[in-house]
C-alpha cells in the first residue's frame, strides 16, 4: 500500500508560477504540496534574463501585456525589493534600425501609460560608456532586474513556513481519474525511486513548457508552442542599466545586468520537447553578433555561461514567428474539458508571475468556494538567508573571512564558505530534497564563477563526504552530473581564456581522476 499525502492543492511545477501560486494560496490559508520532477526553476523560470519589463518592450506587439508588466513592476518593487535590483533601463537604436518604429515608440508607450523619456545621445554614452558609437536614438524606461532563483526560493520558503511543502525530484506518473474528477495523483520520487500518492482537492498544472504533457495525463490537449531562447552570461557586469534594442522584438537585443554579471539574449527557436535543450554554437555566435551592435564590448568580453529556456506559448493557430504569439498568459479551467478539479496556468512571463499566481489562486478558491482576496499585492515577500546565496557576488559582499573560527572557503570564485554549504545542505534536506552538488549549486553561486566547477566541485564533494552527507563511492556520479550541468552552459563559449579554463578542468577531472571511466547508468 502506497503512502498518501492529503492536501488542499497539488501544484505541479516548481517555477516562479508554481511557487507563486503556492505562496498565494498559503497566504489564503490553503495548504499546498508543490512537486517538481527536477528542482526549483528547472524550466523557463531559470532560463531567462531575470528582467522585469517596464512594459515598453511590448507596447508595439502586445499592449495588454505591456500594461500588466507596468503594474506588476510597481507591486514587485514594493513587495519583493530584496529580489530586485532597480537598475532602470534604456531603449537604444543604432544605425540601420527601423526608423518608423523608433518614431512611433514614444507614442505607443504613452498609449499603454508606460514611462519613457528621450535621452540625448551624449548623455546616454555618459550614463553607459560601453554603448556603441553609432547610436541614433535612446529612451529611458523603468526596467529592473530580478533574481528568479531567489524569487522562487523565497516564495517557496514563505509557503513552507505557512504549512505547504515542496517535493523536489518527484515526477507525476499519472492522474487517477474518477467521474469528472482527478481522484489522486501517483508520484515517483526520482532520487529514491519509491512511489506515493497525493490526494488533493484541486490540481494546478503550473509546469510551464511541460503543461501540455501534464494536461495530457488528464486526457486534455493543449496546443502549445515551445520556443527556445538562449542567453549568455558575461564574466563581468557591462552596464548599470538594462539595455534594450529599440526595434521589433528579435534576437540578441536585451542586455540585463544582475549583480556582478550581465546577461545578453535571446534567440527564439521552435523546439518539440522542453527536455534536453542546450545552447548551440550558432545561437551563441548569432547573439554575440547582434549584441555587439549596441554594445561592441560584447565582441571581446569573456563569457562564463550560456543557457537556454523553453518559452511555453499557447497558440490557437500555428504561426511561424513565435514572437508574434501573445506573451500574455493562459489560465484554463478544465471543467470545460470535463475535469472539474484541474487547472492549467501557462504562458506568460516572469514579469507577470504574481498576476498569474493571483488569477490562478482566485480560480482555485472559487472552486473551493472560498471567498478571499489575494494578499500578495499587500504582504511583502519575506527575505530568508538561504534565498540570498544565489545572488552573484553576495558572499564577497559581506566580508566573510572577517568572522573568526574555522570556516574555509570552498568555492573561491564566488567565495562560498563551508558554513554556507552546510546550511544549504540542511535547507535542501528540509524540503525532502537530495543534498548533492547540483541542488547546492542551484541554491548558491557554487560553480557559477570563472572556474565553472573545476575546483569547487572537488572541494565541496569531499566536504560532503567528510560530513557524511554522502558515503557511497557511486555518488561520484553526482560529480559527473554536476560537471555536465556546468558543461551545458560553457560548451558553446569555449575560446580564448574560457577554453584555457575548461582544458584545465578536463586535465583534472579526466586526465587525473579519470571520471569519464565511471559508467553513468545506475
Amino acid at each position: 500500500m502506497y503512502k498518501t499525502i492529503e492536501t488542499d492543492v497539488l501544484i505541479i511545477g516548481g517555477g516562479v508560477t508554481g511557487t507563486g501560486v503556492a505562496r498565494d494560496l498559503s497566504l489564503r490559508g490553503l495548504q499546498c504540496v508543490l512537486i517538481d520532477k527536477s528542482d526549483l526553476n528547472a524550466g523557463a523560470s531559470g532560463g531567462n534574463h531575470g528582467l522585469l519589463h517596464s512594459g515598453a518592450r511590448y507596447v508595439g506587439s502586445d499592449p495588454k501585456a505591456a500594461v500588466e508588466c507596468r503594474n506588476e513592476l510597481e507591486i514587485l518593487k514594493k513587495n519583493a525589493g530584496h529580489c530586485i535590483e532597480d537598475t532602470g533601463g534604456l531603449f537604444v537604436a543604432v544605425k540601420g534600425d527601423d526608423e518608423t518604429y523608433i518614431a512611433d515608440f514614444p507614442g505607443m508607450c504613452e498609449k499603454s501609460g508606460v514611462y519613457c523619456q528621450k535621452i540625448d545621445l551624449a548623455l546616454a554614452r555618459e550614463m553607459e560608456p560601453v554603448l556603441s558609437d553609432d547610436l541614433i536614438a535612446v529612451y529611458q524606461v523603468n526596467d529592473a532586474s530580478i533574481n528568479p532563483f531567489k524569487l522562487s526560493i523565497e516564495n517557496m520558503n514563505d509557503a513552507v513556513s505557512r504549512g505547504s511543502q515542496f517535493l523536489s525530484f518527484c515526477e507525476l506518473i499519472e492522474f487517477k481519474l474518477s467521474h469528472k474528477n482527478i481522484d489522486y495523483a501517483i508520484i515517483k520520487n526520482l532520487n529514491t525511486g519509491e512511489s506515493f500518492h497525493i490526494k488533493a482537492r484541486t490540481h494546478v498544472n503550473a509546469s510551464g513548457a511541460w503543461a501540455a504533457r501534464i494536461a495530457a495525463m488528464a486526457g486534455i490537449t493543449i496546443n502549445m508552442v515551445l520556443s527556445k531562447g538562449t542567453l549568455l552570461v558575461t564574466s563581468k557586469r557591462m552596464t548599470k542599466r538594462v539595455i534594450n534594442r529599440l526595434r521589433k522584438a528579435t534576437d540578441g537585443d536585451i542586455l540585463v545586468p544582475g549583480g556582478v554579471v550581465s546577461i545578453i539574449g535571446t534567440t527564439s527557436i521552435r523546439v518539440d520537447s522542453p527536455d534536453h535543450i542546450y545552447p548551440t554554437i550558432s545561437e551563441v555566435d548569432h547573439i554575440i553578433n547582434e549584441g555587439q551592435r549596441i554594445v561592441p564590448a560584447l565582441k571581446t568580453c569573456r563569457y562564463i555561461r550560456a543557457y537556454s529556456g523553453a518559452r511555453p506559448l499557447v497558440s490557437e493557430n500555428n504561426t511561424t514567428d513565435d514572437r508574434t504569439v501573445s506573451r500574455g498568459f493562459t489560465l484554463r479551467d478544465h471543467e470545460i474539458n470535463g475535469v472539474d478539479n484541474f487547472i492549467t496556468i501557462t504562458g506568460g512571463k516572469l514579469s507577470t508571475f504574481r498576476l498569474m499566481a493571483e488569477k490562478t489562486s482566485d480560480l482555485v478558491c472559487w472552486k473551493h468556494s472560498i471567498f478571499s482576496t489575494c494578499l500578495t499585492k499587500e504582504i511583502p515577500l519575506p527575505s530568508t538567508k538561504t534565498g540570498g546565496w544565489s545572488e552573484p557576488g553576495l558572499m564577497a559582499n559581506e566580508p566573510v573571512m572577517s568572522k573568526t573560527g574555522f570556516d574555509p572557503i570552498l568555492c573561491e570564485c564566488e567565495m562560498v564558505p563551508m558554513g554556507a554549504i552546510d546550511t544549504l545542505v540542511n535547507s535542501v534536506r528540509q524540503n525532502k530534497g537530495k543534498p548533492d552538488l547540483i541542488s547546492i549549486a542551484l541554491r548558491s553561486r557554487v560553480g557559477k564563477g570563472p572556474c565553472q566547477g573545476a575546483f569547487c566541485s572537488l572541494r565541496i564533494f569531499s566536504h560532503l563526504y567528510d560530513n557524511n552527507v554522502i558515503q557511497d563511492h557511486s555518488d561520484i556520479r553526482d560529480l559527473k552530473r554536476f560537471l555536465n550541468e556546468r558543461w551545458k552552459g560553457e560548451r558553446s563559449l569555449l575560446w580564448d581564456q574560457a577554453l584555457v579554463q575548461s582544458s584545465l578542468k578536463e586535465m583534472i577531472h579526466s586526465g587525473l581522476f579519470g571520471l569519464e571511466l565511471i559508467e553513468n547508468k545506475q
Binding site: 542546450y278 548551440t280 554554437i281 550558432s282 555566435d285 554575440i288 573571512m401 573568526t404 573560527g405 574555522f406 570556516d407 574555509p408 572557503i409 570552498l410 575546483f455 572537488l458 572541494r459 564533494f461 569531499s462 566536504h463 563526504y465 567528510d466 557524511n468 558515503q471 557511497d472 563511492h473 561520484i476 560529480l479 559527473k480 560537471l483 555536465n484 556546468r486 558543461w487 560548451r491 569555449l494 575560446w495 580564448d496 577554453l499 584555457v500 582544458s503 584545465l504 578536463e506 586535465m507 583534472i508 577531472h509 579526466s510 586526465g511 587525473l512 581522476f513 579519470g514 571520471l515 569519464e516 571511466l517 565511471i518
Partner: protein
C-alpha cells in the same frame, strides 16, 4: 626603452612544462648549450605520476594493464598518434633517461617493468599510470592490508572518508583519521602543509597520532603533501617512528609531487648551466642562414637569442602554445598550421566527460618522424624546429592517459635527432 641583451645557444627550448623540461634536461645532459624560456608553474597541475598509456581504446574505456602491447596496437590503429612515430624501445629508453635524471636530482622514481600501476587518487578512483614517485609506489599493492587513510582538517579537496569509499569498491576495509594541524584557522594550503612536514616537531606530532593505530593498520595513506624537498626521507622517518608503511595519495592541484618535479628540474638544469628566462615571451624574428633569431621579451629587458635549433614545447591552450579565437585555432610562436576540426561546432562533445573525448584535443601540430612540425605543404616547416609535448596533434592525452609519455618521448626523440643531425 628596454635593456637589450644577447645570448647564443645550441638549442632554445620554448616552454617550461613537462615536455620543455625533459627536452632541456636531455639537451643539457648531452652537453648542448641550452636556453629555456617559459613559465614552469604548470607543474602544479601535474600529478607527479608519469602515464604511458592508461586507457585504450578510449571508446570502450578499457583500462590498460600492459602498456607496451597496448601501444603496439595503438600504433597500428592510429597512424598519426605521436607514439606511432617511434618504437616501444625508444619509449622505454626515454623513460629510463628521465628516471635517471630525476634520480640524479635526488627525486627518486620507481620505474616498473612492463605493467601499469593503478594509483589511488584523492577522489577514490584508481588511476592507471606507469612511473610513479617512490613515496607513491607503496600504494600500488594494497591487497590483504589494513589500510589507514589520513586527512587534515582544512586541507580542501581531500577527505579520508571519500578515499575510503573508493577503496570499499575494491572491498578493502579501511580506517580513517582526520588530523588537526596546530594553529590553523582556515584554509590549509597544500604547499604550506608540505613545508610543515619538513619540520621535525610536526612529524613527531603526526607520528604520535598515527601510533594509536599501530597494530590496527599496517599501511597509511596520506595526501601527497609529505614535504617538498626531501619527501622520501620524511615518509621513511614516519615509517620508522610508526612501524607502518606510508604512501602518498595524489589529488587535485596545486599538486606537491608536481612541485617536487618542478624544483628537481630547475635545480638540476640550473646546475647544468641551462639559462632559464622565466616568463619570457618568445617572438620569432628571422632565420640567419641555419640559425634561428628570436626575441625573448621580458617586462624590463629583451634578449636576442641566436639558436641552432628550437624545441617548441609550449603546450596546448593552458600553456599558451595554441590559442583559440572564436573561429579558429592558431599556433602562437611560429604561426604554424594547426590541425583542427573544421568548425567550432565540432570542437566539443555535448557531454563533458564523453569517453570518446573532445575533438579539440586532437588539435595541434602535425609532425614528421623526428617531431618536426610540418608546414602546409607537409614538409618540415624549419630544418631545426622540433615540437614536443601536448602541442603535437592527434593525442587526446586526457582520455588516453598518455600525457607524460608523449611529453617524454617527443622531447627525448626530438633532442636526440637534433643532436645527431646537427652537432
Amino acid at each position: 626603452m628596454k635593456i637589450k641583451k644577447t645570448a647564443d645557444c645550441d638549442v632554445l627550448v620554448i616552454g617550461a612544462g613537462m615536455a620543455g623540461c625533459i627536452a632541456a634536461a636531455r639537451a643539457s645532459s648531452l652537453g648542448m648549450k641550452t636556453i629555456q624560456a617559459g613559465n614552469s608553474s604548470s607543474f602544479f597541475f601535474a600529478s607527479g605520476l608519469f602515464d604511458l598509456l592508461g586507457v585504450f581504446p578510449v571508446e570502450t574505456g578499457k583500462i590498460v594493464d600492459r602498456p607496451c602491447s597496448a601501444i603496439a596496437q595503438l600504433q597500428s590503429e592510429q597512424r598519426d598518434h605521436p607514439y606511432s612515430k617511434t618504437t616501444v624501445d625508444q619509449i622505454k629508453e626515454g623513460f629510463e633517461f628521465l628516471a635517471s635524471f630525476l634520480d640524479s636530482a635526488s627525486l627518486p622514481y620507481s620505474l616498473p617493468g612492463t605493467d601499469n600501476r593503478h594509483i589511488l587518487t584523492s577522489l577514490g578512483t584508481f588511476k592507471p599510470t606507469y612511473m610513479v614517485p617512490q613515496t607513491v609506489s607503496k600504494g600500488c599493492n594494497l591487497e590483504e592490508k589494513n589500510i589507514l587513510i589520513v586527512d587534515f582538517k582544512g586541507l580542501r579537496g581531500f577527505s579520508a572518508k571519500q578515499v575510503a569509499a573508493g577503496l570499499a569498491t575494491k572491498n578493502r576495509q579501511t580506517q580513517v583519521l582526520s588530523i588537526e594541524v596546530p594553529e590553523n584557522l582556515g584554509n590549509l594550503n597544500p604547499v604550506h602543509l608540505a613545508t610543515a612536514f619538513e619540520k621535525k616537531e610536526f612529524i613527531q606530532h603526526l607520528a604520535d597520532k598515527l601510533l594509536k593505530f599501530s597494530g590496527k593498520a599496517d599501511i597509511v595513506g596520506l595526501p601527497a603533501v609529505c614535504g617538498i624537498h626531501n619527501s622520501l626521507e620524511i615518509t621513511e622517518s614516519l615509517e620508522k617512528k610508526t612501524g607502518m608503511d606510508v604512501f602518498e595519495i595524489p589529488g587535485m592541484p596545486p599538486s606537491i609531487p608536481g612541485l617536487r618535479l618542478k624544483n628537481a628540474f630547475e635545480k638540476k638544469l640550473s646546475g647544468l648551466g641551462t639559462l632559464f628566462l622565466s616568463n619570457a615571451k618568445i617572438i620569432f624574428h628571422a632565420m640567419e642562414k641555419d640559425h634561428f633569431i628570436l626575441r625573448a621579451v621580458n617586462d624590463n629587458f629583451e634578449t636576442r637569442i641566436k639558436a641552432q635549433g628550437v624545441i617548441l614545447a609550449t603546450g596546448r591552450f593552458p600553456g599558451g602554445g595554441l590559442f583559440a579565437r572564436r573561429d579558429i585555432i592558431l599556433e602562437t610562436v611560429f604561426d604554424l598550421p594547426v590541425f583542427q576540426p573544421e568548425t567550432r561546432e565540432m570542437w566539443h562533445q555535448l557531454n563533458f566527460l564523453d569517453p570518446k573525448g573532445h575533438l579539440i584535443n586532437q588539435a595541434g601540430l602535425e609532425t614528421d618522424e623526428m617531431f618536426r612540425p610540418l608546414d602546409k605543404a607537409g614538409k618540415p616547416a624549419f630544418e631545426n624546429l622540433y615540437a614536443a609535448g601536448s602541442i603535437i596533434a592527434h593525442n587526446d592525452w586526457t582520455r588516453l592517459k598518455c600525457g607524460a609519455g608523449v611529453a617524454c618521448i617527443s622531447a627525448y626523440t626530438a633532442v636526440n635527432s637534433f643532436y645527431k643531425r646537427h652537432l
